[in-house]
């Protein structure tokens, strides 16, 4: 029985070499997996915003034009670089009060940098959705189309370019539904 008193230098060196090779192969394999995982995270984060966008946009713009026949303001207008949406939906008594001074009654939406930004009333633009690289409203009430282009935070390592996706949200603005009789009393 040979005594287990260690390895020779040559055996050790061979073992180290083999370990390095195995580790390199192992890390090479896991590196790909990690890269895929990271890219998947980026894409999922982008898609998370894409999932939320219709709900948020609907909440902000769907009541556009409410009560506009009592005032002299358009409910939906494209200004230079941003979309302005006005809607008299609330007041002290819980009903429209012919003034656009409640939250989100007079909002502007624009795309800036990598964000969709929103301004309410006289406030300043604040980011509300990230990963938005383009925002194109097509204003023709009652049926309007909001086109968004979303992209990942960083370029994807596999392609070298940001992962982009586009979607369109078609909204029927009910306050622009034609009436046979005029709204004015």
């Amino acid at each position: 029985m040979r005594s287990a008193d260690g390895y020779t230098l040559l055996e050790t060196l061979w073992a180290l070499l083999l370990s390095v090779a195995l580790l390199a192969a192992f890390l090479g394999a896991t590196d790909n997996i990690q890269r895929w995982g990271m890219e998947l995270n980026q894409l999922l984060e982008r898609d998370r915003n894409a999932t939320l966008a219709p709900l948020l946009l609907t909440r902000w713009v769907y009541s556009a034009g409410n009560n506009r026949w009592t005032g002299n303001w358009p409910g939906w207008s494209l200004e230079s670089g941003y979309l302005q949406v006005r809607s008299d939906v609330d007041g002290p008594g819980g009903f429209p009060d012919r003034a656009l001074n409640e939250s989100y009654e007079d909002i502007s939406l624009r795309q800036s940098g990598a964000d969709l930004q929103l301004k309410s009333g006289a406030g300043s633009f604040q980011p509300v959705l990230k990963n938005i690289s383009a925002f194109r409203p097509d204003p023709s009430p009652p049926l309007v189309t909001l086109r968004l282009q979303l992209q990942t935070d960083q370029p994807l390592r596999s392609t070298g370019a940001p992962g982009t996706t586009e979607f369109e949200l078609d909204l029927y603005l009910w306050n622009y539904r034609p009436n046979l009789f005029p709204e004015a009393p």
Partner: protein, 407 residues
């Protein structure tokens, strides 16, 4: 080498498996989170769609209901405004946890009951969703009594409980509440069987056996912003014998200047405004092409030679053939004349104005009407009301309500 089987590939393999398991677990969690987010957003969007459908259902119902009966409910008694969120079919808090199958309304105020059958206010939709409706009076009037034909309807769309997260008791319904304000259109609820609006008229009466009968109302009401010219043209066109053919309340002929009535009645007053006719005539062709079967839209005029029940809207020369019977309302908007041949009948009302040729119909003219022998127009308010159900309610507002809003 015998007996030395030590090695470390097992450890390597175990580490690899652990790493892969970790990565896959992370991926699974991401996917699950994404799925739940999409499911919740989908549920919320579907509840919005259901609420929209509720508003459209209310729009279709509204012309067919008596508003004061609707506000009081089937029991005929308005239950007051003490309940929280009393205008809504269900409160937000209750809606998030209610079971649609077992829900019953607390009161019947604002719930329609067509033909006496109370509609619970809950309407089923595909995918297990529902929408709930309740009508109430507009805040400018007392809650129990309507006089301006304006009502509010609240439609709550509900999608049954879905998981919010993995914690117990996190399931809540997705809920959206939409409020719309509508006005029933009764501007053309004519006060007489024959109602004229304009500045002048050319009338031709054949014989003395035609008949315009107002029952307990005047046979002819005239509204004008151009003075008594139209009324004078009408009276001067009648021979002494023919004056008896216009019967109803008051002297013979039973005619009156209804200009003050139109000025004082909110629903009629707008008919004197040029802006009303500009809008109405602009929208009429598009609506007329898609109008229901109870509407006969004749933009170029024409001949009616068969019985019809409902609403006739016409421009140009309109002729009712012999023995033709119209039950309902005939609105002639100008650019021609109206002729009732022998024994043609209108049971309900006939309106003449010249909106098609003039921006201000209340002073335009001449209105042209010919009645042959034994033609008759008999006042029937119920028939006019029936015809007016064909007009859609006017939408005055539409908004999404959120829990943080009061009212």
């Amino acid at each position: 080498m015998a007996g030395n089987s030590s090695g470390y590939i097992l450890i390597t393999a175990v580490l690899l498996v652990l790493l892969l398991t970790g990565l896959l677990l992370g991926l699974h969690m991401e996917a699950a989170a994404q799925w739940m987010l999409a499911r919740n957003v989908g549920g919320q969007l579907y509840s919005l769609v259901l609420a929209e459908n509720g508003v459209e259902c209310a729009r279709a119902l509204l012309p067919h209901v008596d508003l004061n009966e609707l506000l009081a409910g089937q029991d005929g008694r308005f239950s007051g405004t003490a309940r929280p969120q009393w205008r809504s079919p269900v409160t937000f808090e209750e809606a998030r946890t209610l079971c649609p199958e077992t829900w019953t309304p607390a009161v019947d105020d604002g719930l329609p009951f067509p033909d006496g059958a109370l509609v619970s206010g809950r309407y089923l939709a595909p995918g297990g969703g529902s929408f709930f409706l309740r009508f109430s009076n507009n805040p400018e009037e007392p809650p129990e009594r309507d006089s301006d034909q304006i009502v509010i309807v609240r439609s709550l769309g509900l999608v049954p409980a879905g998981l919010r997260d993995l914690s117990p008791g996190s399931a809540i319904n997705d809920v959206t509440l939409i409020e719309a304000r509508f006005r029933q259109e009764l501007s053309f609820l004519l006060p007489s069987p024959l109602t004229l609006m304009g500045g002048s008229g050319a009338f031709e009466w054949a014989g003395s056996e035609f008949w315009i009968h107002g029952e307990s109302e005047f046979a002819v009401s005239v509204a004008s912003s151009a003075g008594p010219g139209l009324l004078e043209d009408l009276i001067n066109s009648l021979s002494v014998e023919q004056r008896d053919c216009l019967s109803g309340t008051g002297h013979r002929p039973s005619v009156r200047d209804a200009s003050e009535l139109f000025e004082s009645h909110p629903a009629h007053r707008r008919l004197l405004a040029p802006a009303f006719w500009q809008h109405f005539l602009e929208e009429l062709p598009r609506w007329g092409r898609r109008a229901p079967d109870t509407v006969w839209w004749m933009p170029e005029g024409g001949i009616i030679d068969q019985p019809f029940s409902g609403l006739v809207l016409a421009q140009g020369n309109l002729q009712l053939q012999e023995s033709c019977l119209i039950t309902g309302l005939v609105l002639h908007l100008g650019a021609g004349e109206v002729t009732l041949q022998d024994e043609a009948q209108i049971r309900g009302g006939l309106w003449l104005c010249d909106a098609a040729s003039s921006p201000d119909p209340s002073s335009a003219g001449p209105l042209r009407l010919r009645l042959r022998d034994r033609a008759c127009i008999v006042y029937d308010r119920a028939a006019i009301r029936y015809a007016l159900k064909s007009f859609p309610p006017t939408q005055l507002g539409w908004r999404i309500l959120f829990p943080e809003m009061s009212g």
